[in-house]
Amino acid sequence: MINAIRAELVKMRSMPGVWVTFGLALPLTVLVILGVLAGAGGFPGHTFYFVQTLRQRRELLGAGYFAIEILAPIAGVLCVTGEYRHKTITTTLVLTPVRTRVLAAKVSVTALWSIFIALLTLVAVAAVALPWNAALGGVTSQVTDQVGAVVPGLLLSAVLLGLFGLGFGTLVKNQVAAILLTIGGTLILEALLVALAKAIFHYNLNWLPNAAGAALAGDIARGFGGGGGRNALQLLTWWQGGLVMLLWGLVPLTLGYFTTFRRDVT
């Protein structure tokens, strides 16, 4: 198992997609930091203001969630679909013939990749958000005091969002289709479904991936997927969100294993 993980790590670091996700994590996080500080004052005419409320402080710390909810599923998708796209699955399975072992190694490496994306977003927060907030007159310790409340949920949601991408990548196999399904599905379709469920059925559709991820992250991180819908949602508790996210990863992964990954490699 350790050997399979070590091999997957070598693959990961030699995939251009990894570096693209790392590279995008910073600007996407900075984009959200801009949004949080722009809205912190709440006064018309004020461009930027330091964060004041507890929610705002946590939103500033969790500014990376937007990047994570996009990039972690992509990481998971790339980790498995790249094997089929470049036909490297043959070499992979010849070197490690026990397929469950290969998939377990991919789960581990996707988790690591997702955590690294999350850590990069925290670097962006530390390098941009905190100094900027301080320059605007905010007290840095009031923000950093919230690390315990924000960071564990952020990291855990990154891992589960990565698993979600890996699951759909295993199930769908086609790289473009899998990315469209995970990102397009969660960012566009989910927002649409949440809004429709609310408007038509007055139903609180809070168990779809993005809303579940947001619940796990503590409903403090600003994301994109819920859009207007998420703000109107009553989210699950963090542990319920985590459990639902786990299912959103494990169910497609299990289905993908039995329907796709276990199939003949011809």
């Binding site: 030699s14 070499t91 399975l93 490699v265």
Partner: protein
Amino acid sequence: MTAGATTRGLPIEISGLSKHFGPVLAVDDLSFTVAPGRVTGFLGPNGSGKTTTLRMLLGLVHPSAGTATIGGRNYWDLDNPSSTVGAVLEATSFHPARRARTHLLMAARAGGHDDARADEVLELVGLTGDAKRKVGGFSMGMRQRLELATALIGDPDVLILDEPSNGLDPQGIAWLRDFMRYLAGEGRTVLVSSHLLSEMAQTIDDAVIVSFGQLKAQGTLEQITSNLTGVVMRARTPEADRLCAVLTEAHVAFRRLGHDEVAMDGVTPEQVGPLLASKQIILYELTQEGADLESVFLSLTAGLGFGDVAAHA
């Protein structure tokens, strides 16, 4: 590698192996064995089930029936697969952005081997100078060498090579031939599939010939060719087209050698003489030749050329 060792190989045993792809029977109750210390050619026309058989042996394709074992064990049950078996399956299974050495580093780590092994096998296949180049820029021959290097990463006892000379230049083919002989000389088991029969004839000790997924012959090269001596008839005629039509009608395997020359396989002068006389074919020359691997192959596979079997499947 220790030159002179004679006991390090493991036998390959294929027993009652079958594979259905939907309605197509790709491999049909195939059984044969491959002995250590010898180079065994796995020969058959395109679509005859060679690649499917090798993939079943490596656990990539699930058999519909039968077993394929290495040293009596399934490939996936081996304690350290890459130390036991090295496989060259296709020269396209590389990430184009990955450097040659990185690819081998990945293979070394997957098998639990030392990282230094990547450099050793690069040197072994003559790619040391290209170690830092991305595989996407490699020629077919270089990819083939890299695939071979991947197979050798664990210094395996068994080598399984599927069309390894594809894309290699004449020097590369000669090198590969010597390399396979060297490995077999060390006692390793070498199973190689190829459609280059003249090349195979210079390389292999034993042959397994398949057609339509079924075993047609197995034995040493001498045994196989000696069983079919005198089966090649070569005719020179100004009516080569008409001769081919007559042979097709009579279900005689043949090869068109030139505009006025045809080789007929699996027939004797007593069979072909009356046939051509009855059709009043003008002959300038009719000679009988000793059987070679190619003529044996063609007679056993019913004269089907490459691609023909697939069309019949």
